[in-house]
């Protein structure tokens, strides 16, 4: 059983995002060891060099760090770093898109804000 990947996206970005997701959700805590390149390769059925590229991206950003001979670990402050990074992306990917889509549908900003305020999670 392989975890399916989105073929319209870069694989190594998807690996990096999967690790980030695990840190945000608390599945991986700061100081925890991350799956190895080979484990990722096996899990997703991908070339290990591609998996390594995704991991190295997070090392460059300071989210992961390498303990020589042991493996990769989640850095201290990683969660905040990821959340900070995601917030910027969230505004660009979701909020701006939401506003543009609302404009297309003639939903005013006030209406939009009301909808957001009225939302209480779940099926509302």
């Amino acid at each position: 059983m392989k975890i399916p990947l989105d073929e319209n996206k870069l694989i190594y970005m998807q690996i990096a995002e999967a690790i980030e997701d695990a840190v945000i959700s608390g599945e991986l805590n700061e100081g925890d060891q991350v799956y190895s390149t080979n484990q990722f390769a096996r899990l997703y059925g991908i070339n290990p060099a591609t998996a390594a590229k995704g991991i190295n991206l997070l090392v460059e950003e300071g989210i992961l760090y390498k303990k020589r001979g042991i493996g990769m670990f989640v850095a201290e402050g990683a969660r905040n770093m990821i959340i900070g990074k995601r917030k910027t992306k969230f505004i660009e990917d979701y909020i701006y898109k939401l506003i543009r889509e609302a404009e297309k549908l003639n939903i005013s900003k006030e209406e939009l804000i009301d909808i957001i305020k009225a939302y209480e999670g779940g099926n509302k």
């Binding site: 319209n8 996206k9 096996r42 991908i46 070339n47 591609t50 590229k53 660009e92 898109k97 543009r100």
Partner: protein
Amino acid sequence: MTYAVECRNISKSFGKNIALSDINLNLEKDKIYGLLGRNGAGKSTLLNIVTAQLFPSSGEVRIFGEAPYENDRALGHICIVKESGMFLKDVKVGDALDIASSFYANWDNNLAERLLREFELDRKKYYKNLSLGMKSQLGIIVGLASRAPITIFDEPYIGLDAAGRQLFYDALIDDYMENPRTIILSTHLIDEVSNLLEEVIILHKGTVKLEGNSEDIKNKAFYISGIKDRVENHITGKKVLSKEEFGKTLAVAIFDNISEKEKRVMEADDLTISNVPLQQLFIYLTGGRMIKRGDINE
């Protein structure tokens, strides 16, 4: 740096037919290469030249720095599995494996036995009585168990169903991680193997159309769609592979660098952007449905 396989200005003609023209390739040690091309692109001709089963009309091959012709040491580094079988008819599966084991210095008998079980191949069966799929399985077992520093699979899965192919891909990645070596997968089942590849070589009409790291290639191939004028605006100066219009919408496939900033600007203009899967890029580059085509030669 010594390359695992070096092709220098390889050309090959059969009579008036030009099969390969001025191929230059450097294949690095311990990477998985995909050799992709349509039928008749020259894949098998190139592989036969690399493995010294065919002489080039001009040019040179080097295997770990040495010419392979009548060179047992250079050829001992190579195992090639072809779709057309490789064994004598009156040999049993088990004997075929024994014969193969004597060819390859790094042969791993445990791996051969394990794969034999996984494929549920009967070692007492005669080669001539095997189905096409079983013959392919035997070829795959030999290729993987050979652990040859250069292992070539030339369309190795004729008659093999999707489950059997998946077994091959899984075994390949598993064993490659334990024992890295140069692997060349020649195939037209691109969507199935694209995630396994580190490097991609696209051969088209006897020439190298595109070559490079598979993720880098994918990172230059984009679909962009949206309102026609806006799309036109943003793709000025970019290499366009294909254009399709429906009403006021325009969808294009481009092969060019797009920065994160450019992407943001496009998205703000309500354009949709995604990466083109390798298989689709291959179709664009090798003359599938094409409305407008840029000149791509990387």
